[in-house]
Amino acid sequence: METPERFARGELEAFEELFRQFQAEVYGWIVRIVRDRAAAEDLTVETFWRIWRARARFDPSRSFAAWARRIATNAAVDHLKAARREEPLPDNLAARPAADAAVEEELHEQIRRAFGKLPANLRATATLALVEEQPYEEIARAMGVSVGGVKSRVFRAVRRLRKELERMGVRA
């Protein structure tokens, strides 16, 4: 019997195999959305916890990776919804600009602030589409919406960002 089938039947060893096989992929996807490595580790565990609880609903003939990514996306968006009320803005995990670029950093701070005000679903979609440049088809599958739905969310996110940036005096 294949691992996904054994997992669906509730075998913990099979779940561990899948966990070890997919934890890096799930983590990588989550960290792209939440942009916080520590939170992404917790959310990876939360995702696999949800996966384990939902094992009876898993169809072994379908892709485990796609199913896991969908659940991971939901967990990440739930986190953004909660974090929107409590946490500071998403930070730049890539290289920071030079120290003398204070004006540029101030601009980036304003953009991050505006980005942090987006509703969780728009923020997750915009992060994946605009920042991480993931294919719209992939985002659609992960979020359980159509490609048109992703385009619509990106459009709404950009429109809100433009408005917010204009309000802050930043010209986009």
Partner: protein, 74 residues
């Protein structure tokens, strides 16, 4: 400025401000934490949570027009 140009400008600004994470892997094996989570006893719902849930349901029953507003903010 057209919508397309505006989107491009915002895309450029956002990408510069947030920066792509790219590929990332967890710094440690998460399986031990997963095992701990699996071994945790199921969370019990306190009487206060049940009371709050009951109050919310009662409020929905009395003011059904408030349901969309509540759902919007979830």
């Amino acid at each position: 400025m057209s919508e397309k140009t505006g989107e491009e400008a915002v895309r450029r600004l956002v990408r510069a401000a947030l920066g792509p994470v790219g590929s990332a892997e967890p710094e440690r094996d998460l399986w031990p934490e997963m095992l701990r989570r699996l071994e945790e006893p199921p969370a019990r719902v306190s009487w206060l949570d049940w009371a709050l849930a009951g109050a919310v349901l009662a409020w929905f029953f009395v003011f059904p027009e408030g349901i969309p507003a509540v759902l919007y903010h979830l």
